[in-house]
């Protein structure tokens, strides 16, 4: 297939228009299409094409690396897309070299290292030559689609230029009418397909996000627990928060709250009647007041984001968020704050005070006991005499009772039929992980008439000297109860303090090394974009100019050859004998090899004369014999020519 005239120019202009690189588009169009009409031609060998291809590879990799280091997150996707956007410019040298070469085709092995190695190894290797222009045209059309301009012109442009380019592939027997009908059918089908595809993706995204969020801890509406699950709880070492207390010597908050829940349904805690409402930033755009009051403690926190979003982990009594460049922030009455940032990590500073917390006042939901646990919880509450106690005393009694329980993330067998996980925990095993303690505390408090909620978040317990900060891992996720005592909500954490050591003891031995990598990655993501100044650009241009000069120097083909349209390389053009010839006295255009050798023979030594006498017939056969020469003769021609050339070179000094 060969491209009709001007298609490449149209494709490049289209790319320039869609990507906003008008000047580059027009310049490349002029260069590439103009090369077709120039009489200037160069005799480029396979090695020259290889060098051009390698230059393109270097530019491609350099551009990708530069973009990866400098673009905003998500880096990989953006760097790849931007590199693809610039691919027509990156690959332009290949097409220019092809169009300015006397052969007019590109040897395939110039593009692939594997083929180059095969070519070097195998003397019988048959080179495939291809016209790179149609591939380049397709690349331009694809690159033009990367700028996300949602209009009809992209499809229109692709259709028009695509149909124009396909004119080059039209079979001779194809009549106009069937061809047009087929093309129209494809255009209509393609248009319907793209509309359908957009809708399908939207539907899929809805479905996936529903499914995805339902199992996530970051869902502020429900929290699925592992109550009753058999075996060891899985732990995840990855770092999800980095906490920097602002005041010197300040201890970090022990617990960072994310969400609270009111109702236990089976194994899942659910937040009832807690709709989200949007928070409004102050004039600086990065401060978000949550409630009235002044913060006494300031904690700087970096949170890891999932798809650019997070439910923020906040100290108890947070009144205000600062330095949080969020696009959107929402909060529910139970204290969960959801934020949308973009990127992988987001920083914010929480101002908190122990005396103030604007959480929703207790409702009936906060005193509700689930039907399947009611008898059990009331039984235990009666045994502990909780009804007779004041709220603060009830909290203390429950704490005292649960202090005799042990912490365990391992459960050997499934719960006996007829028992609930909480019943097993409270009456039989007396051992469990934080979810058991938190759920039991919440329900016992409710049985004692104290409004209580089930809270989830993180426990801050690990200080990293490497990072000079407190790091919070996914395995530090924690659950506790919130009790309404003396007119305010307080955190009640009855999980035995030994849980921190037990969790830490299960850390893998490579954790230190993994942390180092995590820290390096975190630092990298927090770095600013690289700047590529005028100086860098100037150096690049000079290097490029030098490369082009080196490549094309002395390669200009004779005008006679250039005048022949589509002149091809002749058979035997790669004979190494030419290397010998180049090192001897020049041969006149009218001289045959025999005449020339006879003329220069007196200037040569005996060994060189003998070697030439052997080489010339072999070279002639390689060049003109339709049968060619066999592999061993080809090897002999190569080896002897190169040896003689090297000898002449050293003799010439």
């Amino acid at each position: 297939m060969s491209l009709p005239p001007l298609v490449l120019a149209a494709a490049l202009a289209f790319w320039g228009w869609r990507s906003g690189n008008y000047a580059s588009g027009v310049l490349l169009a002029l260069l590439l299409e103009g090369a077709r009409y120039l009489r200037l031609r160069f005799e480029l060998s396979y090695l020259d094409f290889t060098r051009v291809a390698q230059l393109c590879t270097v530019i491609f990799i350099g551009l990708l690396g530069y973009l990866f280091a400098s673009v905003e997150p998500p880096r990989t996707a953006r760097a790849v897309l931007t590199t693809m956007l610039w691919l027509p410019a990156v690959l332009a040298p290949l097409v220019i070299a092809q169009r300015l070469s006397t052969g007019g085709l590109l040897p395939l092995s110039a593009l692939f290292r594997y083929l180059r190695k095969m070519r070097e190894r195998d003397p019988d290797y048959r080179e495939t030559e291809l016209d790179f222009a149609p591939i380049y045209c397709a690349i331009c059309l694809v690159a033009a689609g990367i700028p996300n301009q949602r209009d009809v012109f992209y499809y229109t442009g692709v259709v028009l230029i695509g149909c124009w380019a396909l004119a080059g592939a039209r079979p001779d027997h194809a009549r106009l009418a069937p061809r047009v009908i087929t093309l129209v059918a494809a255009i209509v089908l393609g248009y319907a397909g793209q509309a359908g595809l957009s809708r399908a993706q939207a539907a899929l995204e809805d479905w996936v996000s529903d499914w995805y969020l339902s199992g996530m801890d970051s869902n502020p509406y429900q929290s699925r627990t592992d109550l009753g699950s058999v075996g060891r709880l899985k732990t995840d070492e990855s770092i999800v928060l980095r906490v920097y207390p602002q005041a010197h010597g300040d201890a970090p908050p022990k617990l960072l709250h994310r969400s609270s829940f009111t109702t236990l349904e089976g194994n899942t805690w659910v937040a009832r009647r807690a709709p989200m409402s949007e928070l409004q930033p102050l004039a600086d755009g990065t401060s978000w007041p949550i409630t009235a009051g002044r913060g006494e403690h300031r904690t700087r926190i970096f949170t890891r984001l999932e798809n650019g979003k997070a439910v923020l982990a906040l100290p108890e009594g947070t009144v205000r968020l600062e330095d949080a460049a969020a696009l959107l922030m929402r909060r529910n009455a139970l204290g969960a704050v959801q934020a949308e940032f973009g990127g992988d990590w987001a920083p914010y500073t929480a101002s908190s005070t122990e005396t103030s917390a604007d959480y929703a006042s207790p409702t009936d939901e906060d005193l509700l006991l689930p039907r399947q646990e009611r008898a059990l919880v009331e039984g235990v509450a009666a045994k502990l005499g909780l009804h007779a106690l004041a709220p603060r005393e009830a909290v203390a009694r429950i704490h005292e009772h649960l202090a005799g329980f042990s912490y365990s993330t391992y459960r050997e067998g499934s719960i006996l039929p007829g028992r609930t996980p909480l019943e097993d925990f409270l009456l039989h095993s007396k051992s469990g992980h934080c979810e058991y303690f938190a759920a039991a505390t919440t329900l016992l408090l409710r049985a004692a008439g104290v409004p209580a909620r089930y809270a989830t978040g993180f426990s801050v317990q690990e200080y990293s000297k490497l990072e000079n900060a407190y790091i919070v891992r996914a395995r530090h996720a924690h659950a506790w109860a919130r009790a309404y005592v003396d007119g305010r909500w307080i955190d009640v954490d009855n999980t035995p303090p030994s849980w921190a050591e037990e969790e830490a003891s299960r850390a893998p031995f490579w954790e230190g090394f993994a942390d180092l990598l995590r820290w390096a990655q975190f630092r990298f993501t927090q770095g600013g974009p690289l700047q590529f100044g005028v100086g860098g650009a100037a150096v690049l241009i000079v290097l490029l100019a030098y490369f082009v000069w080196r490549l094309f120097r002395g390669k200009r083909a004779a005008a006679r050859l250039a005048a022949l349209p589509g002149a091809r390389r002749y058979a035997g053009a790669d004979s190494e004998f030419y290397a010998v010839e180049a090192r001897l006295a020049p041969r006149a255009p009218h001289e045959s090899l025999g005449d020339w050798l006879a003329r220069i023979a007196p200037t040569l030594d005996g060994a060189a004369r003998d070697a030439l006498a052997q080489l010339v017939p072999l070279h002639y056969r390689y060049r003109f014999d339709p049968q060619g020469i066999d592999a061993s003769e080809r090897r002999a021609l190569r080896a002897q020519s190169l040896a003689l050339a090297a000898r002449l070179e050293s003799a010439n000094g």
Binding site: M1, L81, G145, A186, G190
Partner: protein, 439 residues
């Protein structure tokens, strides 16, 4: 897991075959562009590439649908030679007979070969030449081995040849060519007639069944003119099927027919006179009998050395003048097999045909071959032994042959650099030069 890999390779080959048969260069370009656009436009809200993908996919879909409706009513006949030579191209004609009512226009003709994909056991068993140098992953996955197996089974074939317009009821011919990559039987399945759909992306195909077979004889090298040394030996009982009787006394008498006597020897006149079959009895003969012993015992499969050894044997079969002597070809193929040519017996082509089908045997089988050769050493004038390796078994075999006084020429086809005394070493890849130096 291996079976899954095998199934994956089978599917991949089928896909490649499907694409290469149907898609034109423009079709491949559209497919590649649509694939790239799909990868870049996977998130339809991020780029507009999904539109380029749907257009490319629609073009291909429409082209495939149009090409699917291609039908042609035609018969095809090939004019194939009986023999070809491995590595050598041969031309043949294909005659297309239009059996429809309308002229056939713009057709291309191409040869179709039988499915070359190897079976699971063969794929597991085979070893590609130089496979031991491949990395662990390539050796485990066996993709390169798979490709090699397919390639060696598939001859190089002519590109699609354009057929001129064929009016109804008429015949037109095109010339195609094949170049077998290896010796052996070449099974041809059908001839493929194709026509491009109007967009020029996809070919409509019609396969016309036309089974055919060519035997690719082993590659042969030119041997220098040399006379096999040795003297004539007593051949007890002569050679029963010989049409010319070397040095035997004409005939020594008549006797009763015994079961097993050839019909050629029945003396019909006496039969007519006596009513019971009488045969002529000949004196035992004296003539030269040469043995060509091909060592097929190797654990490296049909590697380059093995193929070269067969080519060397074929070169000797071709070069020895068997009008006045006998040539025995001995090798192991399940058991020791002996084929005798010369003096009007088996034709040379048939012996080459035998060599075309030779395969490797177990390394332990060499002892059997050695025993068989030594058993008939008394009748042999000279031996040409083509060996694949040099070890104790082979050394003692060669020594034993030497001790019998049989003229011996030992050729070792191997990559080794150690040349044992009295042995001509031939390196795979430069066997031609090695043989040319034989004196």
């Amino acid at each position: 897991m291996k079976r899954l890999t095998y199934l994956g390779l089978r599917a991949l080959s089928a896909l490649q075959h499907f694409g290469s048969e149907r898609l034109t260069l423009a079709g491949w370009l559209v497919l590649g562009a649509a694939g790239t656009a799909a990868a870049l436009g996977i998130d339809t809200s991020r780029t507009m590439n999904f539109q380029a993908f749907t257009f490319g996919a629609a073009l291909l879909l429409v082209a495939f649908v149009v090409a699917w409706f291609f039908r042609v009513r035609a018969g095809v006949a090939r004019e194939l030679p009986r023999y070809a030579t491995a590595g050598e191209r041969f031309d043949y004609r294909v005659v297309v007979h239009n059996q429809g009512k309308r002229a056939i226009e713009a057709l291309s003709v191409r040869e179709t070969l039988r499915d070359p994909r190897p079976g699971y056991a063969e794929w597991r068993r085979a070893r590609e030449p130089g496979e031991e140098r491949r990395n662990w992953f390539d050796r485990e996955q066996g993709y390169f081995r798979w490709r090699w197996l397919i390639e060696r089974r598939t001859p190089e074939r002519a590109t699609r040849a354009a057929l001129e317009s064929v009016p109804p009821g008429e015949r037109r011919s095109v010339t195609l060519w094949l170049r077998p990559r290896r010796r052996g039987r070449l099974e041809l399945d059908a001839v493929q007639l194709s026509r491009l759909e109007p967009l020029g992306l996809v070919r409509g195909l019609a396969k016309i069944s036309a089974p055919g077979r060519v035997i690719a004889l082993p590659k042969r090298y030119r041997l220098p003119a040399f006379a096999l040394p040795g003297q004539r030996r007593f051949q007890q009982g002569g050679v029963t099927l010989a049409t010319s009787v070397g040095d035997s006394e004409e005939f020594i008498g008549l006797r009763e027919y015994r079961p097993g006597d050839p019909l050629q020897r029945v003396h019909w006149k006496s039969y007519a006179r006596t009513g019971s079959p009488i045969v002529k009895e000949f004196q035992d003969e004296f003539f030269e009998r040469h043995a060509l012993i091909l060592d097929t015992s190797t654990d490296r499969g049909e590697d380059a050395a093995f193929e070269e050894a067969v080519a060397v044997a074929a070169s000797f079969v071709y070069a020895i003048d068997t009008r006045e002597c006998l040539l025995d070809l001995l090798f192991v193929g399940g058991e020791v097999r002996t084929y005798t040519a010369g003096r009007g017996q088996m034709q040379l082509e048939h012996m080459l045909e035998v060599l075309a089908g030779v395969g490797p045997s177990a390394p332990a089988d060499f002892a059997e071959l050695a025993r068989a050769v030594l058993a008939q050493r008394g009748a042999l004038t000279s031996c040409v032994v083509v060996l694949l390796s040099w070890d104790d078994a082979r050394r003692s075999f060669v020594d034993a042959l030497r001790r019998t006084g049989v003229e011996l020429r030992v050729l070792l086809v191997s990559e080794t650099t150690q040349v044992p005394a009295g042995v001509t070493l031939l390196h795979p890849g430069s066997v031609g030069a090695g043989l040319a130096a034989l004196r």
